[in-house]
Symmetry: D2
Subunit: 343 residues, 4 copies
């Protein structure tokens, strides 16, 4: 870390900082400057040391140097990780994985129809929420366990592996018995008891970036799962909250290549939540592929205007088919295999 | 709701929207304008209807009219709610409640010393975290159940009621056995399984606003607890994330009078997290009182430079005593009783 | 517009709103609901009427219905506008325009070397700032008029048309004498005296989105120029400020297809400012092309580590050449001509 | 500065950075760590050096240490600056200055009525815009020079000094002939040609924080004016853009004590724009006073529902009188003189 002293810090204050740093077993190096003194350190610095020093008299600020995430870091694990959802391999240069389906499992009929549509269009896996987090307690909150059974039936009917969200630590076992991949939603990115529970079991997890989370915070949340022993984490950029009102969220396309540089984990894109408007989903999906995404997460509904949630951002099956026709061209344009992963 | 059609919407598209609205049992009223048509509705509109209509051809946008929160709304419950933390009454014009203590319960000694300091300075209740949510899995995460025992001992020693955070639905019972008030932290404001669990038990809850949550989202999260039958909810403004880098968060002082206008629930202020700098805590605490807050939540630590978390934003006991001396003057200046609530 | 009354609005308050709306020559239509009354209007609504009504007793909020921009709107002018920078046509399906060059004109030598590099790599036009807006008054602020002469020489040497920024109304004439296209930077997007001055002359303008501006505000700033009679406006997405700290800005890829839907004006992308990191420029540039951008604005410098500004986000000439080799593949993948516009 | 190298930076890369730093006449100090090497520097570092080094191979990031503002800094000028608006002294513990009046000068009658109301309620100075920056070119943009004459007449009639906005460098002389203080609006905080022009003349300036500007950027914009020789700068917090939709802006109350700590310049608060709702103006104004503001800027209009702009956030004269009655109590509560500055 680097401790920056105030311009008028006294010699006594500087000495006290040097002394306090030594108490943590770290070697301080004072760096007097024209305007003020800074103090660098050799060796690893704990967060606790940084916080302790920050409140000493005469200290202006403390700048960390080490990256706070470890197991998620490409500096620690240089080569790409492959995560398998059922028989589909994601990341590490494997064919693009396209996970598609309705926002919520609303009924057996709609879910099966959507699953068949995704299958016939060439999708890699089926998504659908049996448990739905909703801003209002009065909105439809999902079919729960019955929804899980519907998803299992849809997998049997189509062969598509299943990705579905889990909201509570106590539901992790039940969901993991059915799902091929557990999704952690944006609102739960920093729900640490949930991350702990998911880290304690082996099924892969699709971790969505929080609405206002930074890339570093996303990687630290992944670190929670990795540190418990589950190394099968897929990261998902799904748009962040900004001042823009014409779109629901702002898809952060920068995050795709930035994450690929920082981490060995697979990175996929959710342009449905990332835009909130069905007519923006296809161009933004293609943009994500051009930027290097390892896969896509797309909301598809047979009749979006009758969907119980997120209808406005769902593609019809026909529109999804058109997207699937366009994806290989962009994949090939950036030198990637044009195949989409099949299960 | 108001459905705004696109400028070039056809008569068929307008008719289809009118028809779809009727299917939800709502009466549509077309409003042709110079540029485009809008369609208003009589009667209550469900969210589902709004979402269904939004995706129809020719629709530009759907504007909701009803407030989405009910039990939290002053329009539904006009008179102020009083919430009791142990023997301390909060809200409804009661004396200001000042809840203070260390960020985390780090040890028996430090916690008891802090509690005695808070008591002697005239604080109303003791805060302290036994379970800590931390951005990094490698930071200190709290003493857990042992920390709860320390808090109980501090209450016995000082008579101060206890406010402490709960992170997981499965911990609610254990924490509620000890605590006089359960805190839901900013990261968990939209952790709905936690809100459900807290709504199912009777101990009061101090609900903190999420880092990037709007006032409406805070009220909707309160609605989760209220709708399960627990009406003892205290709202807490604790700063929001902005672009400012000199402070940790931006304390949203507007939210204090805005919430007092929208809801009957008590509203308190946390200037420690709201600023992240100990030297800003006192002026911002006084600002919150001037704006009409019902109480304060203040981080106090005997030796902030040795705190295991949040040392940089904690007041020493002496600085807390100075704040407590200043609060009555500002309370009186705005016509409020100058007493601070005593337990 | 739609005027939403408070739940407890009296009949007198509703009548007063109805009366006030009539004073503006607009027809009000009361819409009583289960919870509250709303009042719609027929016909065009001025902003002044909306603001006047908003402050009447009993009014909860006023929702505008008409889009506030007119000449920029595709609803008013349905077919794409082509803007010509020298001999290069931008927008309306023309070949992609790639405008590249150094952030600032620092010296004759560097500028000519960059221009030749851009030319040889197949760029369409040369960018370079003679007048630089800098956050600090102590940073390099550009070579001024001497810089304009250097740009003119670079155009003579390479045939590339020139795009350069203008900061003050009083400089518009001097810059317009040399430049083929005037750039308005992000900090000046709402500098209305500058927009007026540019609107009063015929040279095309490249208008950059403000750091925290919405898409609607960008279109309203374009409206300033259009309303003065200059219809040659190119819009530029250049990233917005968000909480992310690993990148300088967040490139808003959603804005590309959203703008193409809302307006007939050409839309280009600046991934150099949109990312702030040279190693993200190429993937984000390709993403912008995949999303439908009409062109790119790229910072190129012969020796970025010696640049006087923005070195960290500039491509070397070799890296720019590699980007130019990749662009046609992505353009073709989305069904666009693979040619890049040549001057 | 501190240069942080990548974990896998080679010895050659580190040596190249050391060499490049020396070329700027600065002494580098390598600091090898457990994970990576950092390089500190002795002596003053120019921004240009930091930018040059940032793009070298192996560099992860460059952290500046010196504050970028100088003349605005309390470290350079420790004692408070007093700025005089006509006969009213602002800052340095002088009585609170309350500058009030209509958003825009709409007519002679309304302006004079507002001025008399401000005077009779005890206001210190009159505000009112003759030139108005508006997001839409179709909104009312002010009366221009005729508005300046009306303001001069209002000063003659009431004795109140005049604060009014200037939008363009070419208007500075004309506005400065009439106004006692020139206002730079939020949209123009980074309009550097305007700041230069204002810095070249002696009338004081009230500089408003930009909508999404940081405190540091506000101070750097003040630095532009100070560096040209005009030392009479008043800073104004007027709310920042956030995700909150119930208020127009979020008043950043933290900024008041933070600015008082960082700079010797007077700091005032504009709760009218800071909230955008007239019913929040009084509590937030009192909060700003409690936080240590040196003055207030308040929109007052005889009949807000007939105002041509910002009616929804204007106080009536009666409400302003009530605010003026409350201000002295809060000022006294924090140990400040309870008098409001009179002209």
């Amino acid at each position: 870390m680097l401790v920056v002293m105030k311009r008028d810090a006294t010699k006594e204050e500087i000495d006290a900082v040097v002394q306090r740093i030594k108490e943590f077993g770290i070697t301080p190096v004072p760096l007097p400057g024209a305007e003020r003194t800074a103090i660098g350190t050799f060796g690893t610095t704990s967060r606790d040391a940084a916080e302790a020093v920050e409140s000493l008299p005469g200290v202006a600020e403390v700048v960390p140097v080490s990256r706070p995430f470890k197991l998620a870091s490409r500096e620690v694990i240089p080569s790409d990780t492959t995560v398998r959802i059922g028989s589909v391999s994601v990341g590490a240069g494997h064919p693009l994985a396209v996970i598609a389906g309705p926002c919520a499992v609303e009924s057996r009929e709609v879910t099966l129809e959507a699953a068949r549509g995704v299958r016939s269009a060439g999708g890699s896996a089926l998504r659908g929420g049996a448990y739905k987090p909703r801003t209002s307690p009065y909105s439809f909150r999902g079919m729960g366990e019955e929804g899980l059974e519907v998803l299992a039936e849809a997998r049997d009917a189509t062969g598509l592996p299943i990705v579905t969200e889990v909201l509570a630590p106590s539901d992790v076992d039940a969901v993991a018995r059915v799902a091929d991949c557990l999704q952690v939603g944006a609102r739960n990115m920093q729900n640490y008891s949930l991350l702990d529970a998911i880290g304690d079991q082996p099924k892969p997890v699709l971790l969505k970036r929080g609405m206002s989370a930074t890339v570093e915070e996303l990687l630290l949340s992944a670190e929670y799962v990795l540190a418990r022993g589950n190394r099968n984490v897929i990261l998902c950029e799904r748009g962040i909250r900004t001042f823009e009102r014409y779109t629901r969220n702002t898809f952060d396309v920068n995050a795709i290549p930035m994450l690929k540089r920082l981490t060995h984990l697979p990175v996929i894109a959710d342009p449905s939540h990332g835009t909130g408007k069905w007519y923006l989903v296809t161009p933004v999906a293609l943009a994500a592929v051009a930027a290097g995404a390892d896969g896509l997460l797309i909301e598809v509904h047979p009749t979006p205007d009758h969907a119980l949630s997120d209808g406005f951002q769902s593609l019809t099956i026909d529109n999804f088919r058109a997207l699937m026709a366009a994806v290989p061209h962009v994949a090939r344009a950036i030198g990637r295999t044009e195949r989409v992963a099949a299960s």
